[in-house]
């Protein structure tokens, strides 16, 4: 039996301990926001936060994540109110949109640690998140914008919803 906290809510999983967190989230818990792109840790589409660290869910097994606290795109905020989501919407970042959940999660880990990143900081943090449609310029701009929004709303850059029931 594996215990996990996902978006603030406790879960128990008694299936295949080798199952990657990606499929646990998508097919067992019906949290479809985390995406499958390469299955090999190469594209970043499946990025979630494990104890606050950006992690490729496709190469992280359920047993590796035992007792961890996981945040997915659904946990960033359900209503799109996290500064990153607001900025993403305002700059209309997506094209096909498929990579964006992973991009947002990597960006959220960056801002949680570094609330005012430079271009270089952003490039370093985001380089493992591929966008087949090439929306990088807008992603970078949206991270800067979210950093600004975050300044005016203290605490809004936190990535795990504190004290409220998860999804």
């Amino acid at each position: 039996m594996i215990n996990l906290t996902i978006n603030g809510k406790h879960h128990q999983f008694d299936g295949d301990p080798d199952m990657p967190v990606l499929w646990l989230l998508r097919d067992e818990l019906n949290l479809k926001g985390t995406k499958f792109g390469c299955g090999a840790g190469l594209c970043g589409a499946c990025t979630v936060l494990v104890n606050g660290e950006p992690t490729r869910a496709c190469v992280t097994s359920a047993s590796d994540a035992a007792n961890a606290s996981i945040t997915t795109i659904e946990g960033l905020s359900r209503d799109g109110s996290h500064p990153l989501q607001v900025a993403w919407e305002e700059l209309d970042v997506p094209q096909c949109g498929y990579c964006q959940a992973g991009q947002l999660m990597s960006a959220s880990a960056l801002l949680a640690k570094n609330p005012d990143p430079s271009d270089e900081d952003i490039d370093t943090a985001m380089d493992g998140n591929l966008c087949r449609c090439g929306t990088y310029i807008r992603i970078r701009a949206a991270i800067h914008k979210a950093a600004q929004l975050g300044k005016s709303k203290p605490g809004s850059l936190a990535t795990v919803p504190a004290g409220k029931d998860g999804y």
Partner: protein, 735 residues
Amino acid sequence: MQIHRRSFLRASALAGGGFLIGLYPKSSALAQNPRAGDASLLPSDFVRIAPDGIVTITARNPETGQLSRNMLPMMIADELDVDWKDVRIMQADLDDKYGIQFTGGSTATPNNWDPMRQIGGAARQMLVAAASQTWSVPESECTTASGRVIHKVSGRSLCYGELSSKAATMPVPALKSVKLKDPKDYRIIGTTTRGVDTKDIVTGTPIFSIDVTVPGMLYAVYQKCPVYGGKPISANLDAIKALKGVRHAFMVQSLLVPGKFINFLNDDPGLEPGVAIVAESWWAAKSAREKLEVKWDVGNWGKQDSEDIARRADEISKRPAARTLRKDGDVDAVFQSGDVKVVETAYVFPFIAHAPLEPQNCTAHYRDGKLEVWSSTQTPQNGRQIVSRVLGIPEGNITLHLVRGGGGFGRRLYNDYICEAAWISKTVGAPVKVLWTREDDFAHDYYRAGGFQHLKAALDKNGKLVAWRDHFIGYGEGETFTHTGHLDPNEFPSRFVPNFLMQASVMPLGLKTGALRAPRSNVYAWVFQSFIDELAHAASKDPVQFRLELLSAGPPAGTQGVMNAERMMGVLKLVAEKSGWGKRSLPKCTAMGVAFYFSHRGYFAEVAEVTVWPDKKIKVNKVWVAGDIGSQVINPGAAENLTQGAVVDGMSELLQEITLKNGGVVQANYDEHPLLSMSQTPSIEVHYLRSNNPPTGLGEPALPPILPALCNAVFAGTGERIRTLPITKQGFSFA
């Protein structure tokens, strides 16, 4: 577009109030009485105005990220004169009433520009008529704004919602008689609107094809032979069926004739042979597949190898070409005349894959001779046709739900994954989701065709291009090129050079090929605009100047099938101006390159500024894009996003190749077929030249020039010409 020429407008009142106006496919009875019965008939495109003033518009084309979902509704809404915030967009499923539903070829804008505006304008006209009757004032005294009809003289106004029921009873204007706005009055066209799905995307809402779930659904993986045309002889099916979570495992034979030359789309077998594993979860199916052992009959292509192909192409290049595609003047006479400077070289480019980020997938449910499908496809009509053939059921028994796709780029023009899901669901008698691994996707694509171009050209003593010969060595059989692997005889600079010879030879190929964003142009631009750059340098002329001179030697504007040289010169001059071409002093190891290309009715010229370090690492500092896609850029924000994406996509293509070994594809994942990363992405400045031409698309034409512009910059900086792709073959990479 044919579908619209056979259409007419019709209006009807809605139960509970409101008004619907739509474009209907023509049937004689209805054409005579646009309000007559037949409630079952539905419009192909429509506007519905509810009593609360909310306007709903259908989006009938599949969405795979080319941002067209807003664009057609924007055209309607502007002519209707409503506020964008009051517009709702509804995605249509596949249905014949919608006419052609297709995404590709940058066709959405040119095909819809007139009819969409006419629908909006007609609805507005009827609302004005309704208001003028209500108030008993002449229509000419009524104006519209923000979803209201206004009678200024009396200070009265009514919102569209209030007028909608009455408007439904007003005379329906004939399509052609609809009065359209003066472009200077546009309030939505030419103003950025945001993607309708953006909120769902940033909150992780399940809107993609891979997110579809159906009650009782099983999951499947499908193992095909690594070699095209191969089929399974036997497999350890019993052992697989005994694994945890596995429900079914079976072999599938297909309609595919091994080794037969197939011209997709029309002859696409849709279903290749393989082994299906169906399980309770996708992870269980995929894990079981790791234990699968299949004995394959690899068919005719088991020895195919990229190195052999290259050797063979080299031999062919030394022989006379198999056939001539175009001949103007006499190139040989010029080459032999002695008083010209001759430049001769060859360009080599590989197969590459589409690899949209969402792997191919489809959910299908076959029940009682009927099939229901949820998937993302750029060609739903083709998909339904192929599936009907594969399953042997009539097309009328197939329902296809169009779900958002995580990228298309041409890959989802082909519907093989839909056939697989349909077949497997029928076999197991349950709803099934087929999901490919990324490795499946790289191994079973419809690849952009590779090829070899042997070029020779002559410059006269004034440095003018006087002769051009091309021997293209591609793939195919006899007179037929492999699907989208052909060469257009009108390819630039044909008709701009007095002596022009375009010839071709083909080699057999056991690999599917297909359309990739800006088919053919995505690499022919690199070949021809690189070679033209070589000629500019050979003529000791500035690369922009040389191109302008070449363009002014062209046929008169309006010549059928040829790009308009004036428009191209316009964007070339604009990009030179914006980039400060020849006017800026550049730091050490830094240089600029230029290229232009005409494709999909769009005119694009691009300049790249690069710094190349001694270790051959290329830092792309900046890219300038100038495009002419007509009088209006309908949604400028989306246009900029797509154009920048096209540049990034083109840069990625400089790094990619698909090679063959023992008949199979070598590259398995993104590490071996890379995508550009954020840190490698330059700043990209986009400009549009608004010319007096109907608006056209830009998903594709913005891409081709970046490849040669960048390689031309590398030459300017290093003196080394990149003539083989990927650029890593010559030791280059992106910093």
